[in-house]
Symmetry: D2
Subunit: 336 residues, 4 copies
């Protein structure tokens, strides 16, 4: 591959930085434009990883100097930026969620479906080496027919109150990743049952949000998926996955920085607490997500999740929210 | 303790044998009467572990030769036998469930509450060394405030069709043990949400029963409990327990017969499959259950679960069944 | 088995108590005589587990009331008591070591070889469920040709100075168990290389003994066995075993009282420290050792180690001691 | 650091390729010259990672265009190349061993000691993340006084006969890495006892070499170190480390590519076999070794092992070889 892929990056916050670094490290890609209304952020990122600076997305698309764009700007901008990328005929990798409002997503849906450029959603966990291998082995039939999936997903600590207030609630902000992972193994979900609880966070309670939740999904083949979430975990970022089938079970446990175990007078075989949060735990997955996106850009076969996957996760998050608030289950049809 | 406690045993099936052996092994107890309408069973048990033989419970109670009774007869006989034990003023240990019909249980409820003799329910898992230690450490505050409980409980293989037909369904037959274990940690359950599925068993499907299920319970303190059940597991009896609190997490994993691990060309660090079923896995717990019952008989402090615990498990199983069939949640008040 | 085997017990110290309890719990055996020059010990043991009391071994043998004897008296008495048992035609189970002085052992050797009654040595670890299963799987060829054995064996804490002074040194007192276990897997040892060290114990240093040691054995088939010993371990009794073969590896790790694991802010997946010492760790093995001895007494096939195994362990311990003191290796021929 | 460090690379075999890749990936370093008498190798490497090509080391040093050199050429060239680097005043990273002949090493020793440029030896395992963290925690006093070190090191499969013939034997070729790791924790070794065995390899036997070995080292503080080696392991590359101290134990186990565990009818909790060999297992360590070397080149504090460490490993390997062949121990004084 001799041709450099020129990337335009929207947004230079935490995830934007991660993507800038990934692009800079990939041999046949380069950061061509960095765009952020907060111009100092754009300038700092461009200084470190290259690219021209802009505060206006239109300027980036009009330049004719980007072969693909990565959207890491605030959620509210996603729909418009995807729309503009389609108009410009430029492949796009957009961070999840597409939007917090399903109606806005659906207004773009037909256009996205008709788009000839790849529209890729940033569900990076699918590219985590461990989960990808789990998926490969399940797909290879190693545990027979898939019957149950258990996802345990607990954040190390609650985000700041300001973030929580605009997050759309635990299901749309946190569970949404687990909902996509559920669909990685059971794509066709037909029923959502969620229950939320308030265990420790006064902030969540005041916002009418939950800090603890259990979501049960039913797949079209009567598979059951259970997601257990908490907004905190004293021992670090807890990300476990278990797939149970007719012939056996496959699990992915948590990752520690090192293999060192300790034996002492008070406890034995003890590992150090887990990697603290998603930027560490999924560092490699973020990089591979971009690599896979670039494969899609080049027209090569790619496993990247697309617009419909992004929409499906939001449909399920909405359904979970409704179920948790009304006490029933919510039936969904992701194909409609 | 020099005085022997004379035990009357009703029922000489699989569990009856286990209890007979436990009684025989306890120094200050003895099998005085063995009662089973299937007289050969009673005779065989008495020949091995001692005691007189009867086919008629009334004869046992009338003999005046029993200081306590253990009921391991079919479920349908439980209510009447407990009733008779109360009338005879004899402490009773009864296998779960009290009955499959909550109305029958409730007709005995006031009398049981007024009884002056111990009425103990056979929820043996509470006496399992591992779960008991887990409970002790949670109670000691080691993980702070309890927020979530995850119970994974899978049988190695489906019971025979005949057994299934009269079992009352997966929630009343299998989940009921997990429901009691949930109450061991979160006694006051206020809401039950259950979802069942049909994944592999034609028998269960024909009976209108499920072979896979997820139950979410809510405690009065907004604790969430998740129970995951399957009627089969290729790798053996799967009995895991996880308690998550504000300060950490405690788990009990599965037990293997030995500590031997194997490293080979195909896999490493592999253990042999788990102990095959409950009689092995909970062998010690069955014995301790009887020991604890005898403490209650002697008027010593005892941790044995009682009639109300047996009733509560049935109320929760009924609620789970209703929730799974109707699609909503069921609110319960165990104190009413 | 309707005939009771009447046991005479010599010695009522810690191990004597364990054996008394084992005999009492076995249905077709009974404690017939309890013998200890410390008569209060004998009386207390007889009161709890049955049997007549004596302070004189000759009285026990002369009574004609013992079908087998168990020797748990001080090491210095072992040779004479085995000798007397042979003369009395009574099977004997003797605690290790036979004696600390190989010459004394060898004076009894021919007579022991000619004896028609079973002479069994108390190497209980061979009956530990985990090691026995390890042995079975190695013998079944699961890891191909045995090439290396690694034994890690560390006591929780140093014994009292008085005990150390008469123990015969670390190799004869502590390593001897590991040497027998080495021979369980590689019976024909031909070379012993040992190195001792003084790491923490002023007592050991003053006695000219070691508190840390490594022993390398060579088997006749060029198998290498490594034993690592320490007289202390902050985290409890450390008893690990690894057998490496041409096709793989089998290991037995340490045992904890329960399966409970803890996740906290400082460490995760932590188990409680190991069972504190051999009476706990090998409780079941002590019982099975007696069971297997009784099989030998009844003339049934038995896996019990015999006089030659007891002698071999002492030969190896002597060789280890010599090797550690001289700095070379010691060649042995256990068949001579 | 704006100034690029220009690297000259000698040798473009397997390890040479690894170092070329590491240099290319480091921002402030570049491959300036690639030198190999096998010119096609040099050309291919330069084409991929940059640099001019030469078949003559003298040309590289004379160019004045290298700020540091990395020696990955055959062992027989190491001494002369280090010598030339010292003469040229250029820092050098040399793969282990310095030479197979201690006399040749010692002829360079004084000159190396007097050299003003860094001479770094390629003991990459010291930079492995897991072992480095183990070292940090031991150094921090977490397990009190170090008393024993256990190193288990088994290669997945025997190298080709041609390689074996010129390798200098198992101790100089394979154990030498473990000997350096022993010195990482116990620098001052005073006694070496080694025993070798022939278990499976006809090639090793014909060459008078061993395929299985145990080495016991004694440190100046009476620490005991045990190294267990085998030239094959059915389950993959086995690299374990255990450090035992007065207050506890720290271990590093083996690494698998993923965290996926499998439960099936035949075995449970099974991981996939270990990473196949050192280029995978120590990939990161090879990179960090170069990073650390470049810190030394820049005059920054560096943990890189030096000439004396390279010599010490060879002294110990020689001693192990002599001990294994003569049957005694060999006393060493690394400071002389």
């Amino acid at each position: 591959m001799t041709q450099q892929i020129r990337i335009g990056l929207f947004g230079t916050g935490r995830i934007g930085q991660v993507h800038a670094m990934s692009v800079a490290a990939i041999e046949d890609a380069e950061l061509a434009w960095v765009c952020d209304p907060f111009v100092e952020g754009a300038e700092r990122t461009a200084a470190e990883y290259g690219g021209k600076v802009s505060t206006d997305p239109a300027e980036v698309f009009a330049s004719g100097e980007v072969d693909a764009v990565i959207i890491a700007a605030p959620t509210a901008t996603h729909v418009d930026l995807i729309d503009a990328a389609i108009d410009a005929g430029v492949p796009v990798l957009c961070e999840k969620p597409i939007d917090l409002d399903l109606e806005r997503v659906d207004r773009l849906r037909a256009k996205a479906a008709a788009a000839t450029v790849p529209i890729v959603l940033g569900f990076n966990r699918r590219f985590d080496r461990h989960f990808a291998e789990l998926h490969r082995r399940v797909s290879a039939g190693e545990i027979g027919t898939l019957e149950q999936v258990l996802i345990t997903s607990r954040d190390p600590a609650e985000p700041p109150a300001g973030y929580l207030a605009s997050s759309g609630g635990i299901f749309r902000d946190m569970t949404i990743h687990d909902l996509d992972m559920a669909r990685f193994f059971v794509p066709d979900i037909v029923e959502v049952t969620a229950r939320g609880a308030n265990t420790f966070s006064a902030t969540a309670r005041e916002l009418g949000d939950f800090d603890s939740a259990v979501v049960t999904l039913r797949g079209a083949g009567d598979e059951l998926v259970v997601i257990t979430n908490s907004r905190h975990a004293a021992y670090g970022y807890d990300q476990r996955f278990e797939v149970f089938g007719s012939e056996g079970l496959l699990q992915v446990g948590n990752q520690t920085d090192t293999l060192v175990r300790h034996w002492g007078a008070g406890a034995v075989e003890a590992l150090e607490p887990y990697q603290n949060f998603f930027l560490q735990r999924y560092a490699e997955a973020y990089r591979l997500e971009v690599v896979e996106f670039l494969m899609a850009v080049r027209g090569e076969p790619s496993r990247s999740p697309g617009f419909e996957d992004g929409r499906a996760a939001l449909v399920l998050a909405d359904a979970a929210d409704r179920s948790a608030r009304t006490g029933g289950s919510v039936t969904v049809d992701l194909s409609r």
